[in-house]
Symmetry: C2
Subunit: 697 residues, 2 copies
């Protein structure tokens, strides 16, 4: 799909410049120097030859067909250039120029026009305001940067130009190979979504890393990221996590979740490995591209320095990994090869005067020991730099590729040792914590890869009924759906609601109450009343006919006094339930990722303790259960209702039903069920109160 | 006090060796090469001259008086060497040899004997199993390491030999100056406590850094650390935080707090700046020693790369600092000096082609702007390494020392730029997050320095009464003090307890109940009964005489049936209280830091939500209030009891009283008041139930 971008046969450089140092000159120079094997078509109205290539005054002069056009012209000239490129057959265009959306409104307009033009002709557009593309496998270096790493297995997508450049330097410095680099710029057309899918299928790409500031379409992102993550590790650094103001929404769900935590949910769901900093992004790229994935979470520490060894053990425990010990046989064998003062347990301390042979003995023991899934090696400079480099060499020779190694090199003047490790395929880090952090990410990724298959249950529901209610509301612009109608919707989606009926006269109210059985609750139904209790519009625990009559009259009187203009649909007479254990279920449509489900225990646990769990719809039963169990207050639910206990599965099913409702109706902005009365096994939870908000338009 | 250690006039090296590479040879060589101006007395039975120094066969041959003796002999010979050194007048001894406590029991015994010998003669002992001491101001390099930094303001205390070495290298690499380095080894005598006090008063030491695995005496540590922190920044890395098993204790307080969090409380209390890793320890040392402290928490970001600038802003917000903006005047001035495409807000983006002059303009604006307390500068390599180095030089020239600068240098091949910054007194970091983290620590330290003066209230209590109860219990070995006696103790410490009396007969019980007024509670009092309800030993809400009679007889019958051998003191008849809002107060004696106070809301908030706050006794009123407000569930307390609200100050006073009780009686291991019934303003909280445990011996 992105062939024209990644493997073009003919490239036009529109705006190729004669002036060394100019953008359009550098770009051409990079392509030529990169050894591109296809045809290069520089376009410049004032040049006949550039860097040994024939130069065209206009692209139309070139007789053949263009695959990819690079445009390095002032912003105002780009549109025309894109048009000409398309006429010359270009199926992909990269605009490297600045002056578009990032520069203000008129730039944004130009950008939108060009994007639309490309879309109509099915031409893919990268940029504008980007550095270009690299595909080492195709000797394609259409990129504005000085250096390029060797071909290799890491591919990068970046929304920041500076991060592209910084990463190219770091990769080259570590002799790590690059597959593809895509600088996405303003993302007028191509974004992380298409690129994740393309790189997922790219045979050269072993690991995908990405730096993103924004995510275009959250739900498509989650799907694309998951598609890629099942095939290879996807490591992302998401910046601008605290900058953007948080959308103010009415329901709890929206208040509770930060922007950042929505990304967190999306990343967890799609298996994306999250880097918290540039350093971490690089460290993770290093380990995932050089080392095998671990089979389990048991990590052995080998060290020649006590303090750093202890810090590694601390870090392993803090990360929730398991500190592992050598088994009896291997520790016996190793003991024989180490001096008496060395310790074999907790961690393996080879002592300050350890040379390569002790490291070798310990590493071979670790590699052959079934108790060990991964190894952290501390190599601190205790003697000369040469000794350290020799140790590094020995570690490399023990790197058999069956279990991940993570080495922490400490001390000044350790470059030689680091280089030997990196060039030998062993990642080297600056700190014990850094060496452990990558293993933690690997263990988590393996767990995600091994997760059970996702099966989203479809409940039998009355979708038509909900469709009718919602479209009527949208037609009349009444976006807030209050309790009674919200319960209608939920009932259609297989929720239990208390029996109830709307009454427009006193007699009707009494009839309904008699039919339902006492005690009953009475609630005013009016589009103008949002908080019923503020206008005396709610009465509970009415135990007889006289109460119903008094309630009806009083309620009508009060609303006449307080909101004389209000339209009143009637009064809802509803079965009064015994209160018991309550929970809150919610959904708000995250601006980026779509329907975000929420679970929490009622009242204080949500309001004060902020003890809530989130996940993206649609969810499976397992995921719904995990939402329940991941709250701290889950224990309270377990303890409630004595021996039989609350029917947790029933709550999970309710979450699944909200998930289905939110997925079926993108018009719904927010759902809140507060509270849902939960019961012992066999009895369905009941919706005590609820509200739903629709999205305009 | 430690003059003989830090500024000796005469040093003996016992175990000085002729063999190059040997420990005792290196040590002598370092001292000689270090330019020590005093007298050096090498001792070796087989040498007459060593490295140009006269060598003594035995120390007794030296006619003068020794100040400091360094011992580098096999462990078994050290005791005799120490004896001889003391006879030669040594007032301080450093044992560098290994083979002591760290090697097993017999080593530990030797170590204890030597320490005792030193203590009796008032001779200070450093080590054993250490690398020695450096005092650059005295040209004293009695240390087993290859390199030594220039004289400067950083002093280090380290329990890990490898960390000493690693730090010496890093300091030298960054051209940071060292004042003193003390390798404490096994800490047989001298520990962080004496050294913190000494370094606090040392005029050469501007910043103290420490690496500790264990802390000898927590309460003395807190005092010493606070003593030092008020004088200069004390930065500590505490390792082995997860290794040590957690002490199993009965009360909530002990279960709730992890070992690590006890250190956290102690560090916060004493103003210690906590480093989470070796890298952070060094980074913090860098900033605190090179840069001024900020006046506030408003941080401006200057950058030449968008992505990293955004990451810096993210980090500032995550750290709880304030992202600052230039004021109208300075931003106007700066605007005139930057190209149109540069942004002045959020963060200040100087663009990828920024040279030194743009950095200068922005830095001068930031330095002169009253809205800015500290500046994070991002210098990413966008062009050549030389340009970056020039930028670095310009940053150095703008480093006026009034506001802290924190620079993040990004890109490959940036050593020249880093060196210029460091040599120019500006700290350079690898990541935006790292540059922000040091500023956060500085802001926190300033806040600690500016904390209000600590005034610990002394309540008027009946200390004699508690003394009598406790000493009687200790004599009879009854360490668990159950409800009734525990309430006696608390009453003596000015707590409100419900009125109540012990009854040994039915008639007495009725009399007491009549006197107290109904309803009453009845509780069995027996040293053998720990859980009263298990044996039917508690009855609540008894509303009349007949109830008291029935209760008494039934309780006696039940205990006869279930615990026929149990000694019964009688039955406690107590006023029954209306239940209301309840909290838990606790104290457990942390094995390291002493009396640790706990506060939490009752029941679920402590048990399930683990929402508790800790602090070390003695506490001030402000500290007690902070314990209350730092729990999440504090809001629940605020909301309780309607408008007047709970009397928070009264709860804080109760915490202070527990603090006083725990401080007055080191024999008390644990106190738990669960629940304390709290009331509206003007009504004292009441102890509903309590237990106290004593420490044996």
């Amino acid at each position: 799909m992105l062939d024209a971008l990644f493997t073009p046969q003919t490239i036009a450089i529109i705006g190729a410049s004669r002036r060394p140092g100019a953008f359009g000159h550098r770009l051409l120079a990079h392509i030529v120097a990169g050894g591109f094997a296809g045809t290069v078509v520089p376009v410049n109205p004032n040049a006949d030859e550039l860097l040994g290539q024939r130069c065209y005054h206009r692209i139309a002069q070139f007789a053949g067909r263009i695959d990819l056009a690079l445009i390095a012209l002032p912003a105002a000239q780009c549109r025309e250039a894109v048009r000409e490129a398309m006429e010359a057959g270009a199926r992909a265009v990269i605009i490297l120029s600045v002056g578009f959306k990032e520069a203000g409104e008129s730039g944004a307009e130009m950008e939108a026009q060009i994007a639309e033009m490309c879309r109509l002709r099915d031409v893919r557009l990268l940029g504008p305001n980007c550095l270009g593309v690299i595909n080492t496998d195709h000797s394609l270096f259409a990129f504005d940067a000085e250096s390029c790493p060797e071909p290799g297995g890491i591919s990068m997508i970046s929304q920041s130009s500076s991060l592209c450049t910084l990463f190219l330097e770091r990769l080259a410095g570590a002799r790590l190979g690059l597959a593809k680099m895509v600088s996405v710029g303003n993302k007028a057309d191509l974004s992380e979504i298409e690129l994740l899918r393309a790189l997922a299928l790219d045979p050269q790409t072993k690991v995908i890393i990405a730096y993103l500031e924004s995510i275009n379409a959250g739900d498509a992102f989650v799907k694309a990221a998951e598609y890629a993550s099942v095939r290879k590790p996807v490591i992302m650094l998401k910046a601008a996590t605290t900058l953007s103001g948080r959308k103010a929404v009415a329901a709890h769900s929206g208040e509770m979740i930060g922007q950042d935590s929505a990304y967190g949910v999306a990343f967890r769901r799609s298996g994306v490995i999250r880097a918290e900093s540039m350093g971490a992004l690089f460290d993770l790229a290093l380990s995932f591209s050089l080392q095998p994935l671990p089979q389990g979470d048991r990590v052995l520490v080998l060290t020649n320095a006590g303090g750093p060894g202890i810090m590694a053990v601390d870090a392993i425990e803090r990360a929730g990994l398991t500190v592992s010990y050598l088994g009896a046989r291997t520790s016996g064998l190793l003991r024989a090869e180490l001096p008496a003062a060395a310790t074999i347990y907790d961690p393996v301390d080879l002592l300050g005067d350890a040379g390569p042979e002790r490291y070798r003995a310990a590493l071979l023991a670790a590699m052959s020991d079934a108790n060990v899934d991964a190894v952290v090696v501390i190599a601190a400079k205790r003697g000369s730099g040469e000794l350290l480099a020799d140790i590094a060499q020995e570690i490399v020779s023990c790197n058999h590729g069956a279990k991940p190694l993570s080495v922490c090199v400490l001390g000044g003047d350790t470059q030689a040792a680091r280089d030997r490790l990196l060039y030998g395929g062993v990642p080297a880090f600056d700190s014990p914590e850094g060496a452990v952090a990558v293993l933690k990410a690997m263990v988590d990724y393996v767990a995600w890869r091994n997760r059970p298959p996702r099966v989203v249950t479809r409940f039998k529901v009355n979708r038509r009924r909900v469709e009718r209610i919602i479209s009527r509301r949208l037609r009349t612009g009444r976006l807030h759906i209050a309790e009674v109608k919200a319960k209608d919707i939920l009932k259609a989606y297989d929720f239990q609601v208390p029996p109830g009926h709307l009454a427009t006269t006193v007699e009707e109210a009494v009839e309904h109450a008699d039919a339902i059985g006492y005690p009953v609750a009475m609630k005013i139904v009016s589009p103008e009343v949002v908080h019923k209790s503020d206008v005396g519009g709610i009465r509970l625990n009415i135990s007889n006919r006289q109460g119903v009559r008094d309630g009806f009259d009083l309620m009508m009187l009060r609303i006449d006094q307080r909101l004389p203009e209000a339209w009143v649909d009637g009064i809802y007479v509803e079965k009064m339930l015994d209160r018991g254990q309550e929970v809150i279920l919610g959904m708000h449509r995250d601006p980026h990722f779509g329907p975000m489900l929420m679970f929490g225990l009622g009242g204080i646990y949500v309001e004060v303790m902020k003890d809530v769990a989130f996940n993206l719809a649609p969810i499976t039963f397992d995921e719904a259960m995990t939402m329940l169990t991941s709250t701290k207050s889950y224990q309270i639910l377990v303890g409630a209702r004595g021996e039989g206990g609350i029917d947790m599965a029933a709550i999970a099913r309710c979450l699944q039903k909200i998930s289905q409702l939110a997925t079926d109706f993108p018009q719904i902005a927010e759902i809140e069920i507060n509270p849902l009365l939960v019961c012992e096994a066999g009895i369905e939870p009941v919706v005590v109160d609820s509200k739903i908000n629709l999205r305009a338009g």
